[in-house]
């Protein structure tokens, strides 16, 4: 009865549920027994025809009272004991060298995760199945709590100290992560998704840094334009001079601002930073109806610089940037002709998914690492040998299945349709720079 717990996706989950179900069955038994006795007495000994019948003056019974003190005590000892034993399993610090340690950080109202290779994600994290996982937690603002129902673990996330959850996932799939310590306005939207995947898929995912690298290599103004749409600035601030909820961004930078209290300031770098982090401190005259929320904690210094540069560029001399398409299309509109061949090759590497399977640091992913590849000699899986020269590399890109290096699977798709000659040449030049 009452088996509503979610699926068991960690090693400790069946143990927790076993104890849980025992408590449930004991609870149901005692509730039914005691309330059943009460109802039985109520019917059996009811007052009939409105006249009291004679009742015995029973004031107690030592034997019974000892029994119903001792029996619950014994049950409690057992339940408490197993509660402690299973809890120790749950919080045990694994000494397994294979364990995956992830740094998790709660903030109002999102979860950030950082992996040991530096990869960072927000509101999603991926772990390999059947390996001990330890998420070390802290908070940048107020209390949060990190709850993984399918793993049966939970820990408060406390500013100023580290806590952790550890679990070993046993089932691939996608699971909920909730914030369970009330943390203000969007507490109920502070969710993250946990993906448990195979070891191979995890390796590919954790080494795929393309999204971050692209962000880091963007020009500040471009980053600012991207954030303008991503963070929703566009909902209130136009780029064409029209007044929406807040002032337009067009030709804002460098002008004099008049505030609702009558004071004035020039819209310089510090003004813009302050307007993002502490918008209530300086509200432009005529715009005090709907207050802007503070972005403190949701935006880093690098991104603020990006927004400043973006605003600096909005002087009316060039058309405003359009909202970029979905992530997959990133970079499509970029002008690549200005890049040197090496830069072009690096761009291809990062944006055409090479990065997903080929590392730069010598580690073996799905495909061979690019580190020291150019000029290498080796054996293919048909027994023949190869030298990684220009011709070999070009053929590997256009028709990869024709020459698979020994020890690898023929998984790479052909790129003949997707890359031009300049792209391929760029990759070759880029690989040359990666020689040992």
């Amino acid at each position: 009865m009452f088996r509503y717990l979610p699926e068991q996706a960690s090693e400790v989950a069946p143990k927790v549920d076993w104890l849980h179900h025992w408590i449930t069955d004991l609870s149901v038994f005692f509730t039914v027994a005691i309330c059943g006795a009460m109802l039985y007495f109520a019917v059996r000994y009811r007052k009939r025809d409105g006249v009291d019948h004679e009742t015995p003056r029973i004031e107690g019974n030592n034997f019974l009272e000892i029994v119903w003190t001792v029996v619950p005590t014994i049950i409690c000892v057992f339940v408490a004991y197993y509660g402690v034993v299973i809890y120790r399993d749950m919080v045990e610090v694994s000494e397994d060298p294979d364990q995956v340690v992830i740094n998790g950080r709660g903030r109002q109202w999102a979860w950030d995760f950082q992996y040991q290779n530096g990869k960072v994600t927000t509101n999603e994290f991926v772990v390999p199945v059947n390996r001990p996982i330890r998420v070390v937690l802290t908070s940048t603002d107020v209390l949060h709590s990190f709850f993984l129902p399918a793993m049966r673990v939970k820990k408060d996330v406390v500013p100023g100290m580290y806590t952790y959850v550890s679990f070993t996932p046993v089932k691939e799939g996608e699971y909920h992560t909730f914030c369970t310590e009330y943390c203000g306005k969007d507490h109920s939207y502070m969710l993250a998704s946990l993906k448990v995947v195979s070891q191979a898929e995890y390796d590919r995912w954790v080494n795929d840094r393309s999204a971050e690298l692209m962000k880091a290599s963007m020009s500040p103004a471009k980053l600012g334009a991207k954030l303008y749409y991503e963070k929703g600035c566009n909902a209130c601030h136009s780029l064409d001079g029209s007044k929406v909820v807040g002032p337009t961004f067009l030709k804002l930078f460098g002008t004099e601002r008049v505030f609702s209290d009558g004071s004035k300031a020039t819209a310089d770098e510090n003004y813009i930073k302050n307007s993002i982090l502490n918008p209530q401190s300086q509200i432009v005259e005529g715009y005090d109806a709907i207050p802007m929320p503070s972005f403190d904690g949701q935006i880093n210094d690098n991104e603020i610089t990006g927004i400043i540069e973006f605003l600096r560029g909005l002087d009316g001399s060039a058309p405003a940037p359009e909202q970029p398409e979905a992530d997959e299309e990133k970079g499509q509109g970029e002008d690549l002709s200005a890049l040197s061949p090496v830069e072009r090759g690096k761009w291809v590497y990062e944006n055409k998914l090479c990065i997903t399977c080929h590392s730069l640091d010598g580690s073996k992913l799905v495909g061979p690492s690019f580190k020291g590849l150019y000029g290498r000699e080796g054996e293919l899986n048909d027994g023949s040998t190869y030298v990684a020269n220009d011709e070999y590399i070009q053929k590997s890109i256009m028709d990869p299945a024709s020459q698979i290096v020994k020890g690898y699977q023929p998984l790479m798709p052909p790129y003949a349709q997707q890359l031009g000659d300049e792209d391929v040449q760029g990759v070759i030049e880029y690989l040359k720079t990666l020689k040992e």
Binding site: F41, P56, W68, V84, Y87, K154
Partner: protein, 555 residues
């Protein structure tokens, strides 16, 4: 009302009728009534707040509230229900009215202090109202629309550092809780001295009604635990106003320390709420079963044991908070120490009915409902005491359902039971029995329909204090919302029925409508200004019902 002239018909209600005679009264019965009306008003406000956010939670997705409004509403619901309604609850209303009557005294030990307690409560309540409407931010901001509705939104627990950073209403709300604490402490002291010093001849400790024992144990907790939360709330205010870093890590403080301080009070306070309800049930069941309370001494010792052990288990609210594993293990094991005396009490109540002559007037129906609801509250408490299982349940709807079974199913049902049971004594009238039973039915069905689905939500992993939720949680939320309205109608009928009987009722209550042996029924209904016409004396405990039998034991 022509009976005024008749000296025999003078009672505490009609001996003086001016408004001044009420607001300056030192009569414990009138003070009890004033508390009753005040806390009932707050019960209605807190209940309406809950019904409002239950409508919001009827469906997944944002409905008609904003997240901020929802957060304010659940904070108001919690803070009002806890600090303004159920902590004063039974002790300040029924306790004030009944304690001197039950021990044969003319009043409490310090009648003026008693009135002061009431007015301190009123000041605290006024401060809470300021926190609710928060007019100062609005005025100081030059009537900025943004500050027009900015009440406390921290939850009733005021956890740091959110409460240090959130809006200024937090200072008013915590200040209110601080002031209300003094009211609680003074009432507790007053009751302790009253029980020690004002028992009538023959009223030995072994003859005290179980309700008096429960009040006594409650008063000890009030006096010892409340100062801690008072200090904690002052520290929180100092941190906000003066920037003293105690709980906020950005100023060198420790938020977990706040949790310890807070629960050191707020766990024992659960027993402040529920022990008096145990006492009420312990009075009602013997009377309607015509049987002595089974194991009087065990029932009394269990109350005292719960009060004592209740001080030693506070960190079971904090198993996931970052306390050390050994601390968690100690608090888990200690918590089971409260489960045992509580279980003993339930066994004793049920055995009292054995071979009784049981009648089912409304107070008895509430007492039986209480036993079922408290079984659910107690057994679900076992899940939460068990370390490995609580990790899963902490801060989910399972906890919400559990403490509503404890506090509403326990303390509120206990208060409503007490109101019906002693209504003839308080008002001198009889209420309409069929309407009272219908209201009981609605309360019982509505309550279970509200909170049983919340256990299921908790099992499914639904966190508490969520403005919005995933679609898979919707069916149980819908049942819960429907139940909450049935529950609300039930309370409305019950209270209106009593109010109608008190004001317009024509059926005069006899001295002792239930043939109870307890002292308060030996005086007139309603009692005279000085309680007893002649000084009472007792020679047995008040549960000597039935015919003495061989092997019946001794109390």
């Amino acid at each position: 009302m022509s009976a005024h002239a008749d000296g025999d018909d003078k009672n505490y209600l009609n001996c003086e009728t001016t408004l001044w005679s009420w607001i300056s009264t030192v009569d414990h019965k009138r003070i009890g009534l004033m508390y009753l009306f005040t806390i009932t008003a707050f019960f209605i406000v807190g209940g309406l707040a809950a019904l409002t956010f239950r409508i919001e939670l009827f469906s997944s997705g944002a409905q008609f509230l904003t997240p901020d409004q929802y957060n304010v509403l659940f904070t108001l619901h919690g803070a009002i229900m806890i600090f303004l309604f159920i902590v004063p609850g039974i002790p300040a209303t029924m306790g004030n009215f009944l304690l001197p009557l039950m021990i044969g005294a003319k009043d409490v030990a310090f009648p003026r202090l008693n009135l002061l307690s009431y007015y301190i409560y009123v000041v605290g309540a006024a401060m809470a109202l300021i926190a609710i409407f928060n007019p100062f931010d609005y005025i100081l901001s030059g009537f900025s629309a943004e500050q027009a509705f900015n009440p406390a939104d921290t939850g009733w627990t005021f956890y740091a550092p959110y409460s240090v950073k959130s809006g200024s209403a937090v200072v008013w709300m915590t200040g209110a809780a601080f002031v209300l604490g003094f009211s609680s402490i003074l009432t507790g002291l007053n009751f302790i001295v009253t029980v020690h010093k004002l028992r009538c001849p023959g009223m030995t400790w072994n003859r005290l009604p179980v309700f008096v024992w429960a009040l006594y144990a409650t008063s000890v907790i009030q006096t010892l635990a409340t100062p801690v939360v008072g200090m904690t709330l002052v520290l929180l205010i100092m941190e906000r106003v003066m920037g003293v870093g105690i709980f906020d890590p950005s100023m060198g403080g420790d938020p977990v320390l706040y949790e310890h301080f807070f629960w050191f009070y707020s766990h024992p306070v659960v027993y402040i709420m529920v022990l008096p309800a145990f006492g009420v049930v312990g009075e009602i069941i013997p009377v309607f079963s015509r049987k002595p309370i089974f194991g009087y001494k065990m029932v009394v010792y269990a109350s005292v044991a719960i009060a004592a052990v209740g001080f030693l288990v506070w960190a079971h609210h904090m198993f996931t908070s970052g306390i050390s594993d050994w601390t968690a293990i100690y608090f888990s094991v200690a918590t089971f120490g409260v489960a045992i005396p509580t279980a003993v009490k339930v066994f004793n109540w049920v055995s009292t009915m054995y071979k009784g002559s049981i009648s089912f007037e409304t107070p008895m129906l509430y007492a039986m409902a209480f036993i079922f609801l408290f079984m659910v509250a107690g057994t679900t408490g076992v899940y939460l005491a068990t370390l490995a299982v609580d990790v899963y349940y902490h801060d989910t709807y399972f906890v919400v359902a559990h403490f509503h079974y404890t506090i509403q199913g326990g303390a509120v049902i206990g208060l409503i039971a007490a109101l019906h049971f002693w209504f003839p004594k308080i008002s001198g009238k009889m209420y309409n029995e069929p309407v009272a039973k219908l209201a009981w039915f609605l309360v019982f069905v509505g309550f279970n329909l509200t909170f049983l689905p919340q256990f299921v939500l908790g099992m499914e992993g639904m966190p508490r204090r969520y403005f919005d939720y995933l679609p898979e949680f919707q069916p149980m939320h819908r049942l819960s919302t429907i139940g909450s309205f049935i529950n609300g109608f039930g309370y409305t009928f019950a209270l209106l029925n009593l109010l109608y009987a008190a004001v317009f009722g024509r059926v005069k209550a006899p001295r002792n409508p239930y043939n109870s042996l307890s002292l308060e029924w030996k005086t007139a209904s309603p009692p005279s200004h000085h309680n007893f016409d002649e000084d009472p004396e007792v020679d047995d405990y008040p549960y000597a019902y039935g015919t003495p039998v061989e092997g019946g034991g001794h109390h």
